[in-house]
């Protein structure tokens, strides 16, 4: 099936299947997933361990290839692209925030933030850069190496790095997973602000109902399929829904 993504979509997937291994040991991680990610929306993907939520994120972001089906980023179908072309797409349209090890240890905070721009050889938009670090409160920390920053600060640098090139979409994999609850809350509100104030699109994988409640929309994944969707969530509603899923 070919992509029919409308321009308003930042990313989409049609009938995505992902199998790991072969024969007896084969595991189906994605089982016919179709999903649209609208622009300027904060989407959370939730599900129990093994539900395929990380796989969905990786295949949407082009880090991993679908076994069958197609996916797009902006208006580009990435399923057919070569490794080099996908790298190009990632560079142009995507920002990442991971759970841990988000920063290059030998680069300062500033250098880590501008890394995607340095890689593509794009000039840094000074005003935008200053605005981001102002919001994230990183002004005093720019010349520090990652080892000299707290966990919360490191993740904020990672968010700044994801924002600086104004990507079409940011994928975040348990961004608050390693943080204490206060730093986590701070980080998630920053992400929320980025969506509301700058129209940034963010897709986040999490298993934490509180974290998910910062999103505009939650997709629930079970056994490789999207089983439910929730808009304008609160932590309690999410928790209830998760309990239904036996989590």
């Amino acid at each position: 099936m070919t992509s029919t993504a409308a321009p308003a979509l930042a990313a989409s997937m049609r009938d995505g299947y992902k199998d790991y291994g072969t024969g007896e040991a084969a595991v189906r991680a994605l089982d016919g997933v179709s999903v649209d990610i609208a622009r300027s929306e904060f989407t959370a993907i939730m599900g129990p361990s093994g539900s395929g939520k990380s796989t969905l994120l990786h295949t949407l972001a082009g880090l991993d290839k679908l076994s069958a089906g197609s996916s797009t980023i902006a208006d580009t179908t990435i399923t057919q692209l070569s490794e080099a072309q996908i790298t190009e797409v990632r560079r142009k349209y995507i920002g990442f925030v991971f759970q841990s090890f988000n920063l290059i240890p030998s680069l300062t905070a500033r250098e880590n933030i501008t890394l995607p721009l340095d890689i593509s050889g794009t000039k840094v938009d000074k005003a935008w850069f200053d605005e981001i670090i102002g919001i994230l409160g990183l002004g005093q920390r720019l010349t520090h190496l990652p080892a000299e920053l707290s966990g919360g600060q490191q993740q904020r640098v990672a968010v700044a790095r994801a924002l600086v090139s104004r990507p079409e979409i940011i994928f975040a994999d348990e961004p608050s997973g390693n943080l204490d609850s206060r730093s986590g809350a701070e980080l998630l509100s920053f992400m929320q602000r980025a969506v509301k104030e700058f129209g940034q699109t963010i897709v986040m994988v999490t298993h934490d109902p509180t974290a998910a409640s910062y999103a505009d929309r939650i997709l629930f994944l079970e056994d490789g399929q999207i089983v439910d969707e929730m808009r304008e969530p609160t932590a309690e509603r999410v928790l209830d829904r998760m309990k239904q899923m036996g989590h």
């Binding site: 990632r90 090890f101 290059i104 240890p105 250098e111 340095d118 790095r161």
Partner: protein, 862 residues
């Protein structure tokens, strides 16, 4: 514990592969040389057995009793005859002797038919294999040759040649064969061909036999040099040898053929032993370089496994057990690597022997792997690996159980302070030792210089870490400008682990240092050569292809039109104060006009009965104004010291020809310098009058000589200079080749370090790829890192090498070195090669890095 170590090696063999290869390469050098020399020894042992198998007893000058008689005098002559025909008869009369045959070798050369053609290149034709001309006896056991075609020599004026030479020289039975000696060219009728021993294995030499009387005439010697004895059937050879010994003249001996062969083999083995020692020295250099790699590898592995060790400590494994486990791992690697090295070495020896036998014929015995080779290989491989792994092992044993619980495996940065202090101290002591060794005139200077150089190298290695940090920091800016973020990251990575990068670069430094040292030495040597030839006014040099320049040839040269005069230089060995010294014999008047001798006063002032001395003799305490008594083979001469020769590289004493004749009788001329008169013009000069040019003049002289003295070679100073420089380049080439394995090992080290650091940085590289870095950029980043390390190591090595080489050259000023020539061309070549090598060394690590699976790389627990 051993099982744990084995499992660990087996679990992750990749990280140890390059380490094992490095050890194996060093070890293979030892195994190869020993196998090779062993085969050479057994090959020649067979040959000597062949030669002396026919002869029951050999009677010859006793090498122990011989002194100036055959060792001194001139270096070219065959052994001088010591047995009169009466002596030979007396030996023949001893009871039990069946045949006693006097043997005599003629100093001369069989030359090809006179085709009337000019030789294309006189220098090239001079390098051919020598001729061996003997008297023919007619008994295969004595002659060691059997007639193949025709017949043996029966009358004067006849000759037989070995069957290969007949073909090579282009003669046929019945032809007149030209034999050139000191006295000129003689012609002999070829009556037959012979085969030497079983296979005529002469390694390219020409073997000829002439009649007894002709041999005595050409050798200008009525006596025999040796006597071959064939015993009667059933005679006890040892007893016979001792009864022959009773009738022999003073200073000679009788020895059985079997003993003689054994003696020759032993003498050869002694020479080959030096080859072995030489090779082992180079193997040590290789393994020394290898040691750097082993240290690095085990260090990195220990760091990577910090959490694993912490866990082991937490569940009750002692530090000592962890240490032995790592040492056992090293032992496993050493055993595998040494075995690999032995096999590789044996194959190398086989290949090399095959190559040599293509050119030199089958000179090898059976190729067996000698037991010593195996012993050396395992001992060296094992010792180097274990010693190198010791420090990392101790480090690992100190890992605290708490480390298992830490989030990140990479520990905090230790300051370089201790390393710097130790490094500076070692480098300083090393430099002092080298200086002392070179200039203090101690007994065994090379021990001081060697130990000093080793300490200097280790010291500089330690200091290199400090040096590398600001250097990489400084390179960040230009690298970022050229290669953007790839360059910046590469510089950062170098800086991040300065110890590791410095050790890796230092491994390359050692090999390059030795190369630069040798290059500095050889280039300075070339300058000496150039200067020597620049200070000569001679237009041509005449030398003998296989001996001295005959007196008759000098007369011929002087008779050619256009030759103004000649100046000959002779050499001999004379005894002064119970020591043998080289004595240069020259003609002061002409010498002063052909060459700028560095003497005080001028060489022209030297008169008969006087002598100039060089610094060696000055050091013995002789001064100008003293009287010295020199003893030569032909007599004594009391001489007054009237001047100094300021260089050590020629004779110790300088005398005139009349004085030389008192000492040596007929002085052997090693070189005659020819000066043309003004009628001869340079080849490239304007020549409107059609005057004779240099080349034409050279041809005219060669033509005049070709009749009677075809073995005299003429060369223009430029040609000789070129020839000398070729020899120097050859020396550089051989040493470079031997250092090759050290350099290859060093490059493996660069690759190894990068590979391990790629593994360590898996997640970082994954992150870079995730945020959009292309594979090509990852590749470039690793390559830049590799190039920085390679070029840094090379530059350090060159600085050290040129410094040590200069120190060496300056300390040899007495031998005519008058300044250091820095081999700029080589230095540039080395730097470029280092950069290329850096690119090559990065291939595998860069491939691995660029192919990393991003998902795995960023997985939460990498």
């Amino acid at each position: 514990m051993f099982r744990l170590a084995l499992k660990s090696v087996r679990h992750n063999p990749k990280r140890l592969i390059l380490t094992a290869i490095a050890v194996a390469l060093g070890v293979s050098l030892v195994a190869a040389t020993q196998t090779f020399t062993n085969a050479l020894s057994s090959g020649f042992s067979d040959l000597f057995d062949d030669i002396y198998s026919g002869t029951d007893i050999v009677v010859e000058s006793d090498p122990d009793a011989a002194d100036e008689d055959d060792q001194g005098g001139d270096p070219f002559a065959a052994a001088e005859g010591v047995f009169t025909p009466a002596d030979v008869e007396a030996i023949g009369a001893v009871e039990g002797v069946s045949i006693a045959a006097g043997g005599l070798q003629v100093n001369g050369s069989v030359v090809g038919p006179d085709t009337g053609d000019e030789p294309d290149d006189p220098l090239a034709s001079a390098g051919g294999a020598p001729s061996q001309i003997f008297n023919w006896y007619g008994e295969p056991r004595v002659d060691q040759s059997t007639v193949v075609d025709g017949r043996g020599v029966q009358a004067d004026g006849e000759i037989v040649l070995d069957l290969d030479s007949v073909e090579n020289l282009g003669y046929a039975i019945g032809d007149e064969v030209r034999v050139s000696t000191d006295a000129g060219v003689d012609e002999f009728a070829l009556v037959g061909t012979v085969r030497f021993g079983e296979d005529n294995s002469l390694q390219g030499a020409t073997l000829a036999y002439i009649s007894d009387a002709d041999a005595h005439r050409l050798a200008d010697d009525p006596n025999y040099a040796s006597v071959s004895v064939i015993a009667e059937e059933g005679e006890d050879l040892d007893r016979l040898a001792s009864s022959i010994g009773e009738v022999l003249p003073e200073g000679t001996r009788a020895i059985t053929g079997e003993d003689k062969a054994a003696e020759q083999t032993e003498a050869l083995d002694e020479v080959l032993q030096y080859v072995d020692i030489f090779a082992i020295a180079f193997a040590f250099i290789s393994l020394f370089v290898g040691a750097y790699i082993i240290v690095n590898t085990f260090r990195i592995i220990v760091t990577q496994r910090t959490r694993e060790f912490g866990l082991m400590r937490a569940i009750g494994v002692t530090g000592r057990q962890i240490r032995s486990m790592i040492l056992l791992e090293a032992l496993v690697v050493a055993l595998i690597a040494s075995t690999l090295g032995v096999v590789l070495g044996y194959l190398l020896a086989l290949a090399f022997a095959w190559l040599v036998s293509l050119f030199a014929g089958d000179i090898f015995g059976t190729m067996t792997l000698p037991l010593e080779a195996v012993g050396w290989a395992y001992a060296m491989g094992g010792a180097v690996t274990l010693v190198s792994a010791l420090l990392p092992a101790i480090h690992a044993s100190r890992v605290a159980p708490m480390e298992a619980l830490r989030e990140s495996a990479t520990g905090g940065k230790k300051p370089l302070k201790v390393r710097n202090i130790v490094g500076a101290a070692l480098a300083l002591i090393g430099a002092v030792l080298v200086t002392v060794g070179l200039y203090a005139g101690l007994d065994k200077p090379y021990i001081w210089v060697g130990a000093g150089a080793a300490m200097l190298v280790i010291g500089v290695t330690l200091l290199a870490a400090q040096l590398l940090s600001p250097l990489a920091g400084g390179m960040r800016r230009p690298l970022s400008a050229w290669f953007r973020v790839d360059g910046k990251l590469a510089a950062n990575n170098i800086q991040r682990e300065p110890r590791r990068s410095a050790n890796t670069a230092a491994a390359l430094m050692i090999g390059v240092m030795l190369l630069a040292l040798v290059a500095t030495f050889t280039e300075s040597l070339k300058s000496v050569v150039t200067e020597e030839f620049a200070s000569t006014k001679a237009d041509l040099f005449a030398t003998g292809a296989q001996g001295p320049v005959p007196d008759g040839a000098i007369d011929v040269i002087e008779s050619v039109d256009g030759v103004a005069f000649t100046s000959s230089v002779g050499f001999g060995t004379a005894t002064y104060d119970d020591m043998d010294y080289a004595v240069a014999v020259l003609d002061p008047a002409t010498a002063a006009e052909t060459y700028e001798y560095a003497t005080d006063p001028a060489i022209g002032e030297l008169s008969d009965g006087e002598v100039y001395i060089n610094p060696t003799i000055e050091e013995v305490g002789v001064e100008v104004g003293d009287e010295v008594v020199l003893t030569g083979p032909e007599g004594e001469a009391p001489l007054e010291v009237t001047g100094l020769y300021l260089s050590e590289n020629e004779g110790a004493f300088f005398v005139t020809f009349p004085t030389g004749e008192d000492l040596f009788g007929d002085v052997q001329v090693v070189q005659t310098l020819i000066v043309f008169d003004d009628s001869v013009v340079a080849d490239d000069a304007e020549n409107p009058g059609g005057a004779v040019t240099f080349s034409e003049q050279q041809e005219a002289i060669q033509e005049a000589l070709s009749e009677d003295f075809p073995l005299v070679i003429l060369a223009q100073p430029g040609q000789l200079e070129q020839l000398a420089n070729q020899f120097i380049d050859l020396l550089l080439g051989i040493i470079s080749a031997l250092l090759g394995s050290a350099l290859v090992i060093a490059l493996l080290g660069v690759a190894n370090t990068l590979l391990l650091s790629v593994t360590e940085r898996t997640r970082e590289i994954g992150l870079l790829r995730a945020v959009g870095m292309k594979r090509r950029s990852v590749w470039r980043m690793i390559t830049i890192e590799s190039m920085i390390m390679a070029v840094f190591g090379t530059i350090l090595g060159m600085v050290l090498g040129v410094a040590l080489g200069s120190a060496l050259v300056l300390s040899l000023a007495d031998f005519g070195f008058n300044g250091v020539t820095i081999p700029w061309v080589w230095l540039i070549v080395y730097t470029v090669l280092a950069a290329i090598a850096g690119v090559l060394a990065a291939i595998w690590p860069a491939y691995r890095a660029s192919r990393l699976d991003i998902l795995q790389a960023i997985a939460a627990d990498g």
